[in-house]
């Protein structure tokens, strides 16, 4: 293959010497990470099981999985960096470039896409001036189209730092990213008040969210989660009563207040 194909890539082709080994973390970072890494390894009968959470841990340090992070994981588990790299590159949540402080994922799998996810994703790209898997210049927001996130009854779905923003439309999604960039407090429909991408990665590494009340935020689920239960209790849903006139999604917020307290967050 000629070099022309590579010229558009971010880094020019390096001929000659292979890449030098990554630098280790500075001593103070290692001192901070070591107890966490030991706690992770202790959760498992065999140490290698700790690799996925360790990768989340190094991602919580840098906002992505760097070569240094890979080296750190390898050293903790007695693996080669090649072995760790093979794993890190298999899973989509491990980023190879820094995420924004808020990582926005728009579901564009079939159901969300058809219900409007494609349009949301297109308009967000235009609005933010970035493409898929890119980050805004100020580093505040990165954007990615994601696969089905198990929230189809709330479609179209947007995730920010893996918290649910249900029932989005282009206007609400643009407002959402504007708020994120402005540093305004943003509350998911299901989940806790947003923390940064790095802090989220730490929860994924298995360290519980220590913020008071975070577990209890946003109730047990929105209207779709409660739909069957309400019918079983003899209540009516929008559009199922005598007057079938309601377009449900638009009216949820207006109709909901008393029954599902978690819903209005």
């Amino acid at each position: 293959m000629s070099a022309t194909g590579h010229e558009t890539a971010q880094h020019a082709v390096q001929l000659g010497l292979p890449e030098l080994p990554a630098e280790p973390y500075p001593a103070e970072v290692r001192e901070r990470l070591d107890p966490d890494a030991a706690a992770i390894v202790a959760r498992y009968p065999q140490s290698r099981s700790a690799l996925l959470p360790l990768l989340h841990l190094v991602q919580s340090e840098e906002g992505f999985v760097s070569r240094t992070g890979i080296r750190y994981c390898a050293e903790q588990l007695g693996l080669t960096t090649a072995e760790v790299t093979a794993v890190a590159t298999f899973y989509t949540m491990y980023r190879r470039r820094p995420a924004g402080e808020y990582h926005v994922g728009v579901c564009t799998n079939t159901l969300c896409a058809v219900l409007g996810g494609d349009q949301i994703f297109a308009e967000l790209q235009q609005h933010l001036g970035i493409g898929n898997n890119e980050t805004t210049e100020d580093g505040s927001v990165s954007l990615e189209h994601i696969e089905c996130n198990a929230a189809c009854d709330y479609a179209p779905v947007v995730m920010v730092n893996w918290e649910f923003f249900d029932n989005q439309d282009p206007a609400s999604a643009k407002q959402l990213v504007d708020d994120l960039r402005a540093g305004a407090e943003v509350t998911p429909t299901r989940g806790a008040k947003l923390c940064s991408f790095k802090e989220t990665a730490r929860i994924l590494a298995g360290f519980p969210d220590g913020r008071p009340g975070a577990v209890d935020e946003s109730g047990a689920g929105g209207a779709p989660s409660m739909a069957g239960l309400r019918l079983a209790h003899g209540e009516t849903l929008p559009g199922t009563g005598p007057a079938k006139v309601v377009a449900p999604r638009q009216q949820e917020s207006a109709e909901e207040p008393s029954e599902t307290e978690g819903d209005e967050a």
């Binding site: 058809v114 219900l115 989940g191 994924l204 519980p208 577990v215 209890d216 989660s225 199922t240 377009a247």
Partner: protein
């Protein structure tokens, strides 16, 4: 109107407490008979617990429908090896959205079920493999497991029984394939999530090559109620071969998407009847009974009983009971293309038919959807799908072939229309949620072409009669 009373049709068990005050807490769970099933189990011999779950007829809720008690029974006892229970909470099948809301609202049902299952199979370390992209659920699982430790349900000497159990919550990192049980085990061992050759089955050589049970969240969460209320109660719901209750997840172009917990064997028509039907002014075009990997159905299948046998006999699979409903504004080629892109993206690369086949399916489908298809493409699609189905290493390949086969079976004319007109005849904006208001105006008589002239319908033989039938309930 064949009025089915929702109160009679539905049977909330796992979802029964979701409307209560903080249902995710131990206090609320216990106030509604929580952990009574565990007390019952610990009074029993572990083998009797296995026998009870087997006799109750509980079948796996993750897609395959394998009897849960039998899976437990396969674990060799007295072999001197550690035994493991691994809960598959990697819910990622497109359309599937039951375990995540269940764990968000009621995580203790899973934890109690895990303790009972661990007692039964003599396991002292159990794992929850939760997909990583759902942090709100992870947060509640962390809290619930801690609560269970603090209350003496976990740790050393569970409730004075002499049995020890630890539960580790493990967050995945984004890979659909890890929902396949052997790929999940490799992933849990810190490797790339690629499926293993079977045999040996996990029951013999699973996690760390030790006997392992891998169960879906909903399967395990259904166990406490069986212990507490008995197998006869469980068998009073559903059918002989598919007893019990389950979560049906309705999504897409419906008036009220959401979770509907009911005895196995309800029909989509019944669920639409009670929930407000397809979104107003539109009609059902196609739907999946259990996620994108289950062959799609059409309005011919509204009365198929949604249990393992019923859906199987109609040519599909119950799968995860993810009822994704699409109306006449949806281009089936677009839908299938997107699903196929998903399978290509998620193919782990281990076996050639799946890795290469899904790639080429995507190339063909994108061409057809963009109006660049050529004669022979449909035969080629069918041929490639045929070379994936049953010939790939795991079920991901079969799943990728399902939407191809079933859409060609029911909507071949729509593919042909794409080829003939060299364009997609659908307006994607008509299928969005926010097209709803405009759609209603159209129904009231204004212009706009896409809804008024849905392509594909014309050529579908023998279908038009069904549209009238669908008035009673299926259409809002």
């Amino acid at each position: 109107m064949t009025a089915t009373h929702p109160e009679k049709l539905l049977a909330p068990v796992l979802s029964a407490t979701w409307g209560e005050e903080k249902p995710w807490t131990l206090a609320t769970y216990r106030a509604h008979d929580g952990y009574k099933g565990l007390h019952e189990a610990l009074r029993m011999n572990p083998d009797d617990v296995i026998a009870l779950v087997k006799d109750a007829g509980l079948r796996g809720r993750g897609g395959a429908g394998f009897p849960t008690g039998m899976k437990w029974q396969f674990i060799p006892q007295g072999d001197g090896k550690p035994h493991y229970l691994v809960v598959n909470a990697d819910e990622s099948e497109p359309g599937t959205c039951k375990d995540i809301p269940l764990l968000f609202a009621n995580p203790h049902s899973l934890i109690e079920g895990m303790i009972i299952a661990s007692w039964a199979i003599r396991c002292s370390h159990a794992f929850i493999y939760l997909r990583g992209e759902t942090v709100p659920v992870l947060r509640r699982l962390h809290a619930a497991v801690q609560e269970a430790y603090d209350a003496g349900y976990l740790g050393q000497n569970v409730l004075g029984s002499g049995f020890d159990l630890d539960i580790t919550v493990h967050a995945g990192a984004g890979a659909y394939i890890c929902g396949e049980e052997t790929a999940l085990l490799d992933s849990l061992e810190g490797r790339r999530g690629q499926p293993r050759l079977r045999p040996p089955f996990p029951a013999v050589a699973g996690l760390y090559a030790c006997p392992t049970v891998v169960n879906n969240v909903e399967s395990i969460a259904s166990v406490p109620a069986i212990l507490h209320r008995g197998k006869d109660w469980f068998r009073s719901m559903g059918s002989e071969k598919s007893p019990g209750f389950t979560l049906y997840s309705l999504s897409g172009h419906v008036t009220n998407p959401g979770q509907y917990e009911a005895p196995l064997g309800v029909t989509l028509r019944q669920l639409l009847d009670i929930s407000g039907g397809v979104r107003e002014g539109h009609r059902l075009k196609f739907w999946t009974p259990g996620g994108s990997s289950t062959p799609m159905f059409t309005d011919q299948h509204l009365d198929v009983p949604l249990d393992y046998e019923g859906v199987g006999a109609a040519g599909s699979m119950l799968g995860t009971k993810a009822l994704q409903v699409f109306d006449e504004t949806t281009c089936v080629v677009r839908a299938v293309t997107r699903w196929t892109e998903f399978y290509a993206h998620e193919s782990c690369g281990k076996c050639t038919p799946c890795r290469e086949g899904t790639y080429w399916l995507v190339q063909l489908l994108r061409g057809i959807e963009a109006g660049e298809g050529v004669p022979g493409d449909l035969e080629k699609l069918q041929d490639i799908a045929d070379n994936i189905n049953g010939k790939s290493f795991c079920a991901l390949g079969d799943g990728a072939a399902s939407p191809i086969f079933s859409s060609l079976q029911f909507f071949r004319d729509e593919y042909e229309q794409h080829l003939r007109e060299r364009r997609c005849p659908f307006d994607p904006s008509a299928s969005t949620v926010w097209a709803g208001t405009r759609g209603r105006r159209n129904a009231a008589g204004k212009d706009r072409s896409p809804e008024d002239d849905p392509p594909g319908d014309r050529g579908r033989d023998g279908r038009n009669g069904d549209f009238d039938q669908s008035e009673n309930g299926v259409m809002a």
